[in-house]
């Protein structure tokens, strides 16, 4: 790590540093330090949702619920319009003197479509906001990182961060109590 002018590592572009922790407590403490140092393009990787990490990382709330509300309202409107148009306008059918379109009879389908479109928005919206699915990520180049979905806790500091400096960031990373600091290639 002598070349401080470019973010390279072993001749290849550097993605960033990967810090490994054995337990969630150390990870939380380290995340607070990274957050306070002002890094923005970094992440923590855990095998399960670790509560308290959002605060320690300074992550703000997601706008997903608003998308879901919009999806649900669209479902409700679609259901009511569909039932009214199909049974009262385009193909009216007289049955036992019932009104062609009545709210009580429309409630079950309206409810179901509201839930359906909300759920579809939740599902697809969440993956879209997360930028998933993607078939590859530089972190998968690290053999060590395979345990991030099993029993190890990681911090990744990306080279794309404006505060990133190959040597200074490495020195900073080594103060964070990680078991191991690994440079990951892009």
């Amino acid at each position: 790590m002598s070349d401080a002018s470019a973010n390279t590592h072993g001749g290849r572009e550097l993605f960033g540093y990967l810090l490994e922790y054995e337990n969630p407590g150390d990870l939380l403490a380290a995340c607070e330090k990274v957050r306070d140092a002002g890094y923005t393009r970094w992440d923590a990787h855990t095998p399960f949702p670790l509560h308290g990490l959002d605060g320690a990382m300074g992550i703000r709330g997601t706008r997903l619920p608003w998308l879901v509300l919009a999806g649900g309202l669209a479902g409700l409107a679609l259901a009511l319009l569909m039932q009214w148009w199909m049974n009262a306008v385009d193909y009216p059918f007289w049955i036992s003197g019932k009104p062609f379109f009545g709210i009580p009879a429309a409630v079950p389908v309206a409810f179901e479509l509201t839930v359906l479109l909300s759920a579809l928005t939740t599902f697809f919206g969440m993956w879209a906001l997360n930028g998933l699915p993607r078939h590859h990520h530089p972190l998968f180049n690290s053999e060590r990182f395979k345990r991030a979905t099993a029993d190890r806790f990681f911090i990744s500091l990306e080279a794309a961060d404006p505060r990133f400096h190959p040597e200074r960031t490495r020195a900073f990373a080594e103060t964070l109590g990680a078991q191991d600091v690994e440079a990951v290639e892009d």
Binding site: F48, P49, T62, P65, P108, L113, L116, L120, M126, A150
Partner: protein, 491 residues
Amino acid sequence: MLLAKDAIDNTVHDPTQPQELITGGQTFTSITDHICGIVEKPRPPRAWYVAIGITSAFTGVLGLMILYLIFTGIGVWGLNNPVGWGWAIVNFVFWVGIGHAGTLISAILFLLRQKWRTSINRFAEAMTIFAVICAGIFPAIHVGRVWVVWWLFPLPSYQSMWPQFRSPLLWDVFAVGTYMIVSLLFWYTGMVPDLATLRDRARTSLRKISYGLFALGWRGSNRHWHRYEKAYLLLAGLATPLVLSVHSVVSFDFATAQIPGWHTTIFPPYFVAGAIFSGFAMVMTLIIPAREMFKLKNIVTLYHLETMAKIILATGTMVGYAYATEFFIAWYSGNPAEQFAFINRAFGPYAWAYWIMVSCNVISPQLFWFRKIRTNTWALLIICIFVNIGMWFERFVITVTSLSRDFLPASWGYYSPTLVDILTFAGSFGLFFTLVLLFMRYLPMVAMAEVKTVMPQEHWEDKVSRPIGDYHGDNPVVQPLRRRARRPERR
């Protein structure tokens, strides 16, 4: 790590201590190794091959019966006048009901912060999906002309005809369809982190590709977890009213009719309670042998089984109460047709079915008042099978008795199933169990990522300089951190 045979009894615990949900001193590593190990073994246990051999044979019978029905017509079933609804509807309502426990465990217990659900929710959700698949077959084939079943959906056609939205049968299409899709999304969303675990441990390229494809590139990022958890909460919040609505809508098929014994406002809550009752019984029926076969006793502990038994007791008592209420209202309404329908249920030609229903559904779960029975796996398994039988008979009694003896004695009849009815129903069990066995073999049976959040944390707490509470609770250390993150100037 204790072996499965040393699994301890954690049904009695000290209320001043946190409940030990996962026994045997498990670590994150041992949980991952154990659950993934089931899927990664080159060969499943021999019992698995025997079981899938039998269940696939039954699935084949189902296929043959469906083909026979399509080529011959609905006349191969025992339907007659006046009993125009028979086993197809009974089986449909039965299977939809089975599905409900899965959603209840995954959604409602999630919202109620019931941490014990994490050991069993994946399994129960899978059961939901498979039960709804079995349920979906029956309405699709009972229409007779299966090739025009798409008329049920609001799709444009050259006839310019639209489905009739004032019919409860169409509400069913939307309710069950939505239920199926939302359950599938919920199940899959919950599984993505665990599929990523399997991908990262995969040795063969086939496994890498297949699990990798479905893991969607998940890398445990906390920025992703943050949205993921919000999405999971939203899906749970959406599934909760949905699960209550599905069986309510199914009950509308009956409740909006004029037939005595069907024209009842108690049906929606009564059907939902019955559905949860039968669904939990099915979860138990599946999970007791599975925890034995795959050595899951430290993860699905006796405490989990006992808690489910308590839910079965509660919902079984509700079902018994609903039976009593129906009788009371029949008498109180002063409607002779209604009164006759209920006297006829208990003492008429279908009295045998009625009393099977009462003894299985009302009497047998009452044994769960005794702790000795709640914590005995054999007793649990047998009573749960009784509950499943009883709940099938409940749907049979409601559907058939009311139709066979309605207003005019001149139009009375007796219904008996044909061999085709019986084999189709048996075949649907074959399909259900085949899917369950494939699930156990190829997918993570326990939600690993979720189980890890409720584990005892002794193995790391001692290394931390300050105390940190459990991950899910309100954490006294985490709260100030969160405030500091948002308003740094106040510190």
